[in-house]
C-alpha cells in the first residue's frame, strides 16, 4: 500500500508545487512509512545545455572529491550544494553542462561505479527529491515546501518486495527520453515479460524493482512517438497485476489503473488545478473536493499544459 499523487497548475505559471505535494503526501502518510519522494517540474530554470545531478555519497574521507573528479573529467561543475541526510550519507547536488542529453546516462554510470556512491537522478527540467523517512522529515531535510514549479508527482512508500533505501524510493526515472518520472502503487506480476523486450532493445535496468520497469516501458513508448495517453492506455493492456501509477513529464502528468481496479486512484479539478491521488484526503489539500472522480478499472487520465 503506497500513496501516489500528482498536481498540475493549469495556468502554466510557477507555483509552490513542493508545498502542494508535501501536503498531499503528508495526508497519504498512513499508506507508506518507509520513504517518500517528489519530482517537481518547471522550476529548475536551467539553460538548454545545463543538467542537474543528485548523488548520494557515503560520508567517508576523500569520497566526495572522487565524485567531483569523475564529473570534472567530463564537464565542469557550475554550482553545487551538499545536503546532510541520514545513515552517514550526504546528498551532493550539482549543475553541469553537457552538449546533449545522450551524455547524461554514461556520466551517471561512471559515477555509479564509485563504491558507496549512487546517482539518485540526473535531469534538465525537474528536481527530484527522494529519501528514507516520513514526508515531513524529508520535506524539512530538503526544504521541499519552498520548491517551485508548474506541476509534479510524489510518492510515499510501503515497501512490499524490494529494499528500502534512497534509490528505491519513488519516483523512478528512465533515461530513454529526458525527464520522465513515475510513482507506483502496486505490483507488476508479469515483470519479466515486460522487462525482457526492453532489455533486448538495449535499455538499461539498474534494479529489479517493478516501478523501474514501468517507467522504462512508458519512456520507450514515448520515444516511439506514442502520446502519453496512448502509452498509458497500451501499458494498462500489457501490464498484469494490481497497480495504479502516475507519470510525470515536462508537459504534465498522467495516471493509469489496472483493469481489475485493485489499486485506488481519484481525481478532481477546478479552473486552477488538476490533481490525482490515491485518496481524496490528498486532493483536499489542493482544491475543493465536492466532485471527486474515481478512476475506473483500466482507465487512463492525462493532463498536459
Amino acid at each position: 500500500m503506497c500513496g501516489i499523487a500528482g498536481v498540475v497548475f493549469k495556468d502554466k505559471r510557477i507555483h509552490k508545487v513542493g508545498d502542494s505535494l508535501t501536503k498531499m503526501l503528508d495526508a497519504l502518510q498512513h499508506r507508506g512509512p518507509d520513504s517518500a519522494g517528489f519530482a517537481i517540474y518547471g522550476g529548475l530554470g536551467l539553460a538548454n545545455d545545463e543538467y542537474f545531478l543528485n548523488i548520494e555519497v557515503k560520508e567517508k574521507p576523500g569520497l566526495l572529491e572522487k565524485v567531483k573528479d569523475t564529473v570534472n573529467l567530463v564537464t565542469q561543475i557550475k554550482s553545487e550544494e551538499i545536503i546532510p541526510s541520514v545513515e552517514n550519507y550526504i546528498i551532493y547536488r550539482c549543475i553541469i553542462n553537457l552538449e546533449s542529453f545522450s551524455e547524461l546516462k554514461p556520466l551517471i554510470m561512471d559515477i555509479d561505479r564509485i563504491e558507496n556512491v549512487t546517482v539518485l537522478n540526473g535531469s534538465h527540467y525537474f528536481e527530484m527529491i527522494k529519501d528514507v523517512g516520513t514526508v515531513k522529515e524529508i520535506a524539512e531535510r530538503y526544504g521541499t515546501k519552498s520548491k517551485l514549479g508548474t506541476h509534479g508527482i510524489g510518492h510515499t512508500r510501503f515497501s512490499t518486495e524490494s529494499i528500502v533505501d534512497r534509490y528505491h524510493a519513488h519516483p523512478f526515472q528512465s533515461y530513454i527520453i529526458p525527464d520522465i518520472t513515475l510513482v507506483h502503487n502496486g505490483q507488476i506480476t508479469n515483470y519479466w515479460k515486460i522487462r525482457d523486450p526492453l532489455e533486448r532493445k538495449g535499455h538499461i535496468f539498474e534494479t529489479t524493482n517493478d516501478t523501474e520497469c514501468i517507467v522504462h516501458y512508458i519512456a520507450d513508448k514515448l520515444s516511439e512517438n506514442y502520446t502519453l495517453q496512448e502509452a498509458l492506455e497500451k501499458s494498462v493492456k500489457d501490464m498484469d497485476g494490481p497497480f495504479s501509477y502516475v507519470v510525470g513529464t515536462p508537459n504534465g502528468v498522467g495516471i493509469a489503473k489496472d483493469q481489475l481496479g485493485l489499486r485506488p486512484g481519484v481525481m478532481a479539478e477546478d479552473d486552477r488545478v488538476f490533481a490525482i491521488a490515491s485518496e481524496e484526503v490528498a486532493l483536499r489539500e489542493v482544491l475543493d473536493t465536492k466532485d471527486v472522480e474515481h478512476i475506473s478499472p483500466g482507465e487512463v487520465r492525462v493532463y498536459e499544459i
Binding site: 498512513h30 481496479g261 485506488p264 481519484v266 485518496e279 481524496e280 484526503v281 483536499r284 473536493t289 465536492k290 466532485d291 471527486v292 472522480e293 474515481h294 475506473s296 478499472p297
Partner: protein, 229 residues
Amino acid sequence: MREIKIDANFKTPRQINSELKKAAKEYKRIIIKNPNAMHYIAAGLTEPVDVIIDGSAGYFVGTMIHEARIHVKGNAGWFPADNMTAGEVIIDGSAGDGVGQGIYGGTVAIKKDAGSRTGEIMKNGTIIIGGSSGFMTGLYMMGGHIIILGNIGDDAGESIIRGVIYVLGNVKSLGKNAKLKEVNENDINELKKVLISYGFQLDDNKYFEFKKIVPLSKRPFYGQESEEG
C-alpha cells in the same frame, strides 16, 4: 433530541470511534466535524443513533454497523457500509469501489456515482446508486437489491447467485450467470417505495424504463438446477 458534536481534527480513527461509541449511549444525534476523508469512521457502531459526518469520509465508513444511521455530507472512499447488518449509510456525494460489500441488511444510498464491484457478495439489504456504478456490480451477489439510476459497467451481475440488480440506464455488458429481464408491477411498486423514501425523485413513466439483472441459475458452478434452494 440530545445532540453532540465531535471534532475529528488531529484525532486518529481509533480516538474518534472510541468517542463515538461512548456518545452513542447517551445521545441520539452525533455530528462529526472536520472528518477530512478519514478512514474507518463509525466502524462497528451498534447503537440506533444518527451520525452526521460533516464532510467526506475515507475507506470503510460505517463498516459492520448494526442499526446506526450514518449520513455522510461529502464523498466516501472504498467499501462504505461493508458488512453492515442493519441501519443506513447515506452519502451525498460519490463513493469508491465496493459500496455495500457483503452487507447482510440495511440500506446504503449513494447520491452520485459509485466505483466498481458495488454490492459484491452482499447477502441481503438494499443499495441505491443515484448515478452510475462501475464494473462487476453485484459480483457474487447472494441476495438483496441493488438499484442503479445511471448506467452500469462491464460484467454486471458477474456470478450472481441470488438477488436483483435494477438498472435505469444502460447495461454495458452482463457477467457470467446474469440475465436481463423486464420489470413487473411488483418491481415498480417496490422501486417507487424505496426510492421515494430516500429522496430520489423520478417521473412515473421513468419506472417503466427500469430493467433487472437476475441469475440464470442458482447453481451455476456445480450441482443440479433441481437442487436450487
